[in-house]
């Protein structure tokens, strides 16, 4: 490109003279520039240089507008290309960010659900509905039946935690879930009240009509059987555990645990008992945690206490004597 030489040795002025002149011009212009900078900084906004600049801007404005119009298609093309190139990187980054946010959201929701569940459990355990002579053991459901025919779940607490066979199990809200039917060190199997083998002695809260709650027509419905025809039962009544006690035996379920709501009541002349459909209060499909109710240790036999009492009384009397 620079093959073509510039004029050299073209008569006067001489080469050194031209170089000197160039230096002089450059130095002069540098000085002028410095002077312009100085004056520009020292003068006010209404000064001559600012005014000249404003005039220059207004003179150049039509050219700039024309240039902007001509350049717009090229500018748009560049912006489009630039956006296209950026989009790939942005896409990858946004995917990562989205994944991270989704994970955080899941963690937050899980934590919120666990917190809400814990709140319900605490409210139930410390509330008046919780049976006095039982201790609660909270357990998470870790296994569900592989087929719909088995109405059993496995929980994450076992004999090592104090869970015992035949212990009643309630939901976080205190509604009846089932019974512990098998125990290992760290897990326990709970047979739900919707299992075919389950039967719970129950009564209707409002009328005290007694019966037995069993599996109904479908896997999610119950019936209250053995209720005599002369007993009054209405739709919307609450069915709770009866919790009976005799001299030799005691019901596995404590008294007053809610089981379900009466959905329909019917009776026929040929039947011995009423036909009562009950909707369970627990949604067994969405159950996440349960409370196993463990009966507290029995206090010492009353006879032994009676025997020890007079002796203690005498000892206390001796202590009081001067």
């Amino acid at each position: 490109m620079l093959d073509a030489p510039v004029r050299r040795g073209d008569g006067p002025p001489s080469r050194s003279g031209r170089a000197f002149r160039a230096r002089l011009v450059a130095a002069l212009l540098v000085l002028v520039s410095l002077a312009l900078i100085t004056v520009y900084f020292r003068e006010s906004n209404d000064g001559p240089l600012h005014a000249a600049q404003r005039i220059g801007v207004s003179v150049l404005m039509p050219f700039e507008v024309a240039g902007e119009r001509v350049a717009r298609p090229f500018r748009d093309a560049w912006a489009w290309m630039s956006d296209l190139l950026d989009a790939k990187g942005d896409n990858e980054e946004l995917r990562r960010e989205n994944e991270e946010l989704r994970r955080e959201l899941i963690e937050a929701r899980t934590a919120a659900q666990e917190l809400a569940l814990q709140g319900e459990i605490d409210a139930y355990v410390s509330g008046p509905q919780f049976p006095d002579d039982f201790d609660p053991i909270v357990a998470t459901i870790i296994g569900r039946p592989p087929t719909p025919y088995q109405q059993e779940v496995v929980v994450s607490a076992g004999s090592g935690d104090g869970v015992r066979r035949n212990a009643p199990v309630v939901s976080e809200g205190g509604n009846l879930v089932g019974l512990v039917t098998d125990v290992t060190d760290s897990t326990a199997k709970i047979t739900l009240i919707t299992d075919q083998s389950s039967s719970v002695s129950a009564r209707v809260l409002e009328t005290q009509a007694a019966g037995v709650v069993k599996l109904g027509a479908s896997s999610s419905s119950l019936v209250l059987d053995r209720v005599e025809k002369d007993k009054l039962v209405s739709e919307g009544n609450t069915v709770i555990t009866a919790g009976w006690t005799t001299e030799r035996f005691e019901s596995l379920f404590p008294r007053g645990i809610p089981i379900g709501i009466v959905e329909s009541v019917g009776q026929q002349d040929v039947d011995l008992f009423k036909r009562i459909q009950v909707a369970p209060l627990v949604d067994f499909d969405s159950l996440a945690a349960v409370i196993v109710l463990i009966k507290k240790e029995q206090p010492p036999e009353p006879q032994q206490t009676a025997k020890e009492s007079p002796r203690k009384r005498e000892q206390e009397k001796k202590k009081k004597r001067p």
């Binding site: 490109m1 620079l2 093959d3 073509a4 030489p5 510039v6 004029r7 050299r8 040795g9 073209d10 031209r18 170089a19 002149r21 160039a22 230096r23 011009v25 450059a26 212009l29 540098v30 002028v32 520039s33 410095l34 002077a35 312009l36 900078i37 004056v39 520009y40 900084f41 240089l49 000249a52 600049q53 220059g56 801007v57 150049l60 050219f63 700039e64 024309a66 240039g67 902007e68 001509v70 350049a71 090229f74 500018r75 560049w78 912006a79 630039s82």
Partner: protein
């Protein structure tokens, strides 16, 4: 320097300034833009020498400072020095030098960026060195090197290189 050349060069610089303001400022990599005015100045200075380069640099700086409402004289100062230096570089370059245009554009770009940073630093503005090199200097250098040959070709067509007139010397018999 003829009046025609001066008018052509002024037109070129004005055109370059308009392109710079209306188009080149929108093309950006990092924080750098292609500097059409600088490359045009380098091309014209290589074609016409240091005096032409210094004067043209001064005028180009004034136009840019006016169009961008910048500090009056700041760009003029830098471009005057660069125009003068490039003209001297063109005079000193021999035919055997490989790609003198690219060398001139690269050195002018680096000098302009660094000089601008120094001047702005002296005026109270600062920019981190890493940002200056990675986001401004290197992408700007790449832009200007890409533009160098097309702009030089355009300038050489408008301001054709002058031929050296060599005097014949008859050998003494």
């Amino acid at each position: 320097m003829t009046a025609i050349d001066a008018l052509k060069a002024a037109g070129l610089v004005l055109l370059a300034a308009i392109v710079q303001v209306s188009l080149a400022e929108w093309i950006e990599i990092g924080e750098a833009h292609p500097d059409v005015v600088l490359v045009t100045l380098v091309a014209v200075s290589l074609l016409r020498g240091p005096t032409f380069g210094a004067v043209l640099g001064f005028l180009a700086g004034l136009v840019l400072d006016t169009a961008s409402f910048g500090t009056f004289g700041l760009t003029s100062l830098l471009l005057t020095v660069i125009g003068y230096w490039t003209g001297r570089f063109g005079e000193a370059t021999t035919r055997s030098s490989p790609h003198p245009l690219l060398i001139a554009v690269a050195l002018a770009s680096a000098g302009y960026t660094l000089g601008s940073a120094v001047l702005h630093f002296m005026l109270g503005l600062s920019i981190p060195a890493s940002q200056l090199f990675l986001a401004v200097l290197l992408p700007g250098l790449a832009f200007n090197l890409i533009l160098a040959y097309p702009i030089y070709a355009l300038c050489a067509r408008i301001l054709p290189p002058r031929l050296v007139v060599r005097r014949e010397v008859k050998p003494a018999v």
